[in-house]
């Protein structure tokens, strides 16, 4: 119906511009919200949500009660919704859209499902508009019309896809549900009749959740590497905080300390408590095998093990507050170009191996990218006499070099020019690590100079 016709029939019509992106975002937010019922929830564009509630319905007092609760909560959030539950996702969707039946038990036989599906219109297949129009032109209005016909001619006329959809609808095959987030392996959860608003309550709950989670981890013999706490607010908003660890952890005190740190960091930007959180969930997203530490009297005490643990604790705590990418460890690499010789990796990747120090003179500090300078040398391939860096002229009074570093010919950087490095000291005693890029006469006519480090 055109807008003009609609206006003519109902002058009070409120018109809103369609905003598909905002719709999709709202649907995603709702999918996050619906994870309070089950960890496996997926948005089903344009206007549906698909939840896999296998094994979760009894937590809400049965399947019918679960459907009621979902509808009631959605209507409280301001959404008109119809919920249906069936053995297969396609059937559940079709029932919610086209039927007044809302619950098909898991134990329903194939005959019962076929009878139920037969009464649905062909739109319930969920195929494209043209295909539906084709079906209608052929006089097939109900799913039952399709089920009564032999399959081979149907496949020949409407394609294999239509038959696949038909099988999915009648639960002969099962559509996969692609959840928005992977279901975590270990979950601990607490629900409250009213929202928690006090920070102290939230922290106490997180402590209890950590204590709930750790026995599960211990039984499986794993430790957490990434931990997520999800807060479901009563008005439908979902907040999540994540904390990473540098080694597998399953000590409740340490886990909750990490979460508090993270909570404190988030609170600075405002963990918006609003009307309160009524569901708190703690998930171990990433786990790693961790043997239980030997605590007996005859345990061989590894030297530095306690210190490693302490350093790991410190790194986790700093990483939780500052962000994991800001806590780094320096790993020596097998590369001779100075910028690649050391990799600064987040400490969560583990400790660097012990490597013997090298005798080559290297500066104590290195710029992330070399800074160009204007330098004057006595002769084109000689040491620098003076150079201008950051608008200040430095006169070189002592130097050591050159140390010639060629780019790796085997790599992609093979075409890069050769560098001659000099350690240079200016009149005030400041030390610079300079290099000249390009060999004069062979690679370039005008070599350029850079400052690469200071010490």
């Amino acid at each position: 119906m055109a807008v003009a016709d609609a206006r003519a029939r109902c002058p009070a019509l409120a018109l809103v511009e369609a905003d598909p992106q905002a719709d999709a975002a709202a649907l995603d937010a709702l999918a996050d919200w619906s994870r309070r019922f089950t960890p496996l929830a997926a948005p089903h564009p344009p206007d549906g949500l698909m939840l896999d509630v296998t094994g979760a319905a009894h937590l809400f007092g049965g399947e019918a009660a679960l459907l009621d609760e979902i509808e009631a909560r959605l209507s409280r959030l301001g959404f008109g919704a119809r919920a249906a539950l069936a053995p297969g996702p396609a059937l559940a969707r079709a029932l919610a859209c086209f039927s007044s039946v809302r619950l098909v038990c898991e134990t329903a036989g194939q005959g019962e499902i076929d009878r139920l599906a037969a009464s649905l219109p062909v739109e319930a297949l969920g195929v494209e508009e043209e295909a539906v129009a084709g079906l209608r032109r052929a006089g097939l209005r109900r799913i039952g019309d399709l089920l009564a016909r032999p399959r081979a001619p149907l496949a020949a006329r409407f394609g294999q896809a239509a038959l696949t959809r038909l099988d999915a609808l009648t639960c002969r095959i099962r559509d996969p549900i692609r959840p928005r987030f992977e279901a975590p392996a270990f979950i601990a959860e607490r629900r409250f009749p009213d929202g928690l608003t006090q920070r102290a309550d939230i922290e106490a709950t997180l402590t209890r959740l950590a204590a709930d989670l750790c026995p599960l981890l211990e039984r499986a013999g794993v430790g957490v590497r990434r931990l997520e706490a999800i807060f479901y607010r009563v008005d439908g908003a979902v907040k999540r905080i994540e904390a990473g660890t540098s080694r597998p952890l399953r000590d409740p005190a340490r886990l909750s300390a990490l979460l508090f740190e993270r909570l404190a960091a988030v609170a600075e930007e405002g963990l918006d408590t609003g009307y309160g959180f009524d569901v708190l969930r703690l998930c171990a997203i990433e786990t790693e095998r961790a043997a239980a530490p030997q605590t007996s009297l005859v345990a061989p005490v590894e030297r530095g093990a306690a210190e490693d643990g302490d350093l790991g604790d410190l790194i986790d705590r700093l990483g939780a507050r500052l962000g994991l990418r800001r806590v780094l460890r320096l790993h020596p690499q097998a590369a001779h170009l100075p910028e690649f010789a050391v990799a600064a990796l987040p400490a969560a990747h583990g400790a660097p191996a012990v490597c013997p120090p090298q005798a080559a003179a290297r500066p104590l500090r290195l710029f992330e990218r070399p800074e160009p300078v204007e330098a004057i040398a006595l002769f084109p391939d000689g040491p620098p006499l003076r150079f201008r860096w950051r608008r200040v002229l430095h006169e070189v009074v002592a130097y050591e070099g050159p140390e010639r570093l060629a780019p790796p010919w085997w790599g992609e950087a093979g075409a890069a020019p050769t560098r001659d490095y000099f350690q240079a000291q200016d009149r005030d005693g400041h030390l610079f690590w300079l290099f000249r890029e390009g060999l004069y006469g062979r690679e370039t006519e005008a070599p350029r100079w850079y400052v690469h480090g200071l010490s």
């Binding site: 350093l311 020596p332 600064a344 660097p352 104590l364 400041h430 480090g453």
Partner: protein
């Protein structure tokens, strides 16, 4: 006798080979020879808080290097432990990030090292306090653009208490010297405050001599002046005087900057006879 730093480095390498030949025994540490009187002062050997100010803004890398040397000294005095470096983003832009190869060459064990990058001075101070509290750390160096408003008596007192609790040495290396009024008003709980400047090359060295006479002590040579030291740690040191001091990464101690080179010391050499080894 060659004047170049190269020959000095070869001497150091020879000493290292000698150490390996001496059945892997480390060369005996000889604090008596060449150790500066300041060494006892600078080597806290215990938990504490020190401040290292650059004399002028361009001296900040030198001051940070001095802080790093003190961290190494504290680690050696403690007999192990981790070293944590806290670098603000602004500092990384201005002076670059600590470079693993250079640090390792100066004797730092990279497997006992963590580099923390922070955005603001508040974060730096928080991270420093946390690191000092941890029993794993031997020394924590924080480079920061501190203002007296942020880093005042109570903040530094917190840091000092954290350091005492964790048994670590805290080193605050502000990137800019306090100016004028601020300098006069500046007060903190630190036990030691020094002002560090890069040491200019000696008078005998000059470009005219056409040698490459970079000091063999190059990155570890400074001029420094004591601004504050807790009572009882002064000894006979004149506070106002600028002194030249160097750090010896081989022995991990501070010593006089002059003379730059020693004749190889007897204590460094392997015991004269290695009969078992020679026979084998």
């Amino acid at each position: 006798m060659s004047l170049g730093g190269v020959s000095e480095r070869i001497c150091l390498l020879r000493a290292r080979i000698a150490a390996i030949e001496a059945d892997g025994r480390a060369p005996a540490v000889a604090p008596a020879s060449g150790a500066d009187r300041l060494d006892a002062l600078l080597c806290a050997g215990r938990a504490g808080l020190s401040e290292i100010f650059p004399a002028r803004a361009p001296d900040a890398p030198a001051a940070a290097a001095f802080a790093f040397a003190m961290a190494l000294r504290a680690r050696a005095a403690r007999g192990g432990g981790a070293v944590v470096f806290i670098v603000e983003d602004v500092s990384a832009q201005e002076f670059g990030l600590p470079y693993g190869r250079g640090l390792a060459a100066a004797g730092l064990d990279l497997s006992r090292f963590a580099l923390i990058r922070t955005r603001r001075p508040q974060e730096t101070l928080w991270a420093m306090e946390e690191a000092l509290k941890s029993p794993a750390c031997a020394a924590v160096v924080a480079e920061s653009f501190l203002t007296p408003r942020l880093y005042d008596l109570s903040t530094s007192r917190r840091l000092l208490l954290a350091a005492r609790r964790g048994g670590a040495l805290g080193l605050v290396a502000p990137l800019a010297p306090p100016k004028g009024v601020e300098a006069a008003r500046f007060s903190s709980a630190a036990e030691l405050r020094v002002e560090v400047a890069a040491a200019p090359p000696g008078a005998a060295q000059g470009f005219a001599s056409r040698g490459p006479p970079l000091s063999p002590l190059a990155p570890f040579r400074w001029r420094l002046r004591l601004l504050k030291a807790r009572a009882g740690r002064w000894g006979e040191i004149d506070p106002a005087q600028w002194r030249e001091i160097a750090f010896d990464p081989e022995r991990t101690l501070f010593r006089h900057a002059f003379p730059e080179r020693f004749p190889a010391e007897a204590s460094d050499r392997p015991a004269a006879a290695h009969p078992q080894r020679r026979r084998a």
